[in-house]
Symmetry: C2
Subunit: 323 residues, 2 copies
């Protein structure tokens, strides 16, 4: 008799950090850890570090034989081919056969998808999208990702790359994206990097206006600092979030007219700003919708802890594997 | 024994005309006809005219007992509820229970969907999308409609209204749409009406430049006239199509990053301009795509005769009915 394996490893590769966890059948994350994603130019030393970081937790649950497999969410991760292809926010360029490399490294089956797709699956299994058949997950982190579910299934597209909503152009001729070279994409504005850039732009455009942000050196201005200043009533900092929400809301209106989702779920670092980002986003989304779509779409924050959603979603790929 | 019914009626309601046909199981359209969509403010006299126009063809195939049902494609047509809701291009305002009204009028079961969704189904069953599981149909007529197929199924959304890509905003703050009141939607530019408006704008913006279009009274300038002048080498007329293709291409790039389709199929009046519209559309679509999407999406014209695609698609709803 083959013993049932009780655990899955979920790995969430973001532009800055890689989070991982060991998850059981109920969706409880037993062990969590994190390493930097971009410390190494090459993939091999990164995998060494990942393996080292995971080892103690693997031993803790009873060793590798207790683990069924590894699910990975990564930018530009392709479910069909198991590869990461030309991910703008990662150092590994070209096509990286990550599922294969991870599988060889850990001697376990591995499956891969887009990090935001993984988060969407996590949300559908355990979070705010439980029971929904049509929703869009937008991840507002270092970059802007998305996972789209329609008719109860992830939209992967003909090649596995669907759902790159962060790279749709919302402001034609607008801000230059730091890595794609395109102008005016959603990610250039509604990511942590985008918020910092907007703050710096506003400080330059309004040179005579006082702001707490002027006490902070340019390179230390990030979305967290802007949020802290906004909480203290700083006008420029509040305007930064109002502007970010406007662009995001306009983008979401376009997405609604594509797939008419029951809900849009916002997830990631920027959601910590709460109403500061939610209110302008909702206002500008509604304003740009046709009447038939207005006041119907639930715009909500993720119900999963930030680290957990993507890890849970990635681990869910494992339970789907043929054993 | 219940005799199998051999025919279906397909009805395609557009902003200007309503086209209908009687279709057999093989997808051959036996009889075709057309009436004006917007001659009547009320729905009842419209249905009378439709019934009168269809009667001779119904008799021709052997009477009403030979017909299984009626499938309808209409702007803002909702498959779930059988209603047309707040269609900006139709005179009947509010919520019109069209499937029910048609069913009562003809004493036949009736089903309804968005006209562009119907065209997409027609294309998937009989046209350029045969065998495809992921494609987008864009209809470039009086307005701009769309039907999106992902994982082999129409994306209808949680409420049946998905696929209103003509109303996505491509040029924020741009041209005012004549009926929605929104600025910069795809339909404001890439529809027949949009092309005429662009021509009139260009003539005003370039007052000293000669153009064949100046020989035509403003109210007679339409997409057909602009096309004819472009064929004769008129620079402004050619620029109108180049500009239209630019906007359309930018929009298509956004759509590709949503659902990563194998193909985008262009359909409707504007496609008669051939390369004049196709070349700039393709160029600007590719330019706005991330590398992972470039040179992969087939951008093609519909293979079905314009009248047939929507009629065939609408009639396909009938074969799906439980008998």
């Amino acid at each position: 008799m083959v013993k049932q394996k009780n655990y899955a490893i979920g790995i969430d590769i973001g532009g800055t950090t890689t989070k991982f966890g060991i998850v059981d059948h109920r969706g409880d994350t037993l062990y969590r850890g994190v390493i930097a994603s971009n410390k190494f130019e090459k993939i091999e030393p990164y995998l060494d570090e990942l393996s080292e970081a995971l080892s103690p937790a693997i031993e803790e649950v009873g060793g590798i034989n207790e683990i069924k497999g590894i699910g990975i969410g990564a930018p530009n991760g392709n479910y069909y081919s198991g590869t990461i292809e030309y991910a703008p926010n990662l150092k590994w360029k070209g096509i990286v056969p990550l599922a294969k490399l991870v599988s060889e490294k850990f001697k376990l089956p591995a499956a891969l998808t887009n990090d935001a797709n993984a988060a969407a699956v996590g949300e559908m299994m355990y979070g705010a999208a439980k029971g929904m058949k049509d929703f869009i997950m937008i991840t507002l982190g270092t970059g802007v990702g998305s996972g789209i579910v329609a008719n109860g299934h992830l939209i992967l597209g003909h090649d596995g790359f669907a759902g790159e909503l962060g790279h749709t152009i919302i402001v034609p001729g607008g801000r230059l994206h730091w890595s794609t070279g395109h102008r005016g994409s959603l990610e250039a504005y509604a990511s942590a990097t985008g918020v910092a850039n907007t703050a710096i732009e506003f400080l330059e455009q309004r040179p005579t206006e006082k702001s707490l942000l002027r006490n902070i050196e340019k390179e230390y201005i990030d979305s967290r600092v802007v949020f802290d200043c906004a909480l203290k009533g700083d006008v420029i900092a509040k305007d930064v979030y109002a502007f970010t929400g406007k662009i995001l809301g306009e983008a979401l209106a376009n997405f609604v007219m594509f797939s008419s989702p029951e809900a849009i779920i916002l997830f990631g670092g920027l959601t910590k700003a709460g109403d500061l980002i939610m209110k302008p986003t909702r206002e500008h989304m509604e304003k740009n919708l046709l009447p038939i779509f207005q006041n119907k779409v639930k715009l909500i924050f993720s119900e999963l802890k930030e680290a957990d959603a993507a890890i849970l979603g990635a681990s869910a790929l494992v339970w789907e594997m043929k054993s």
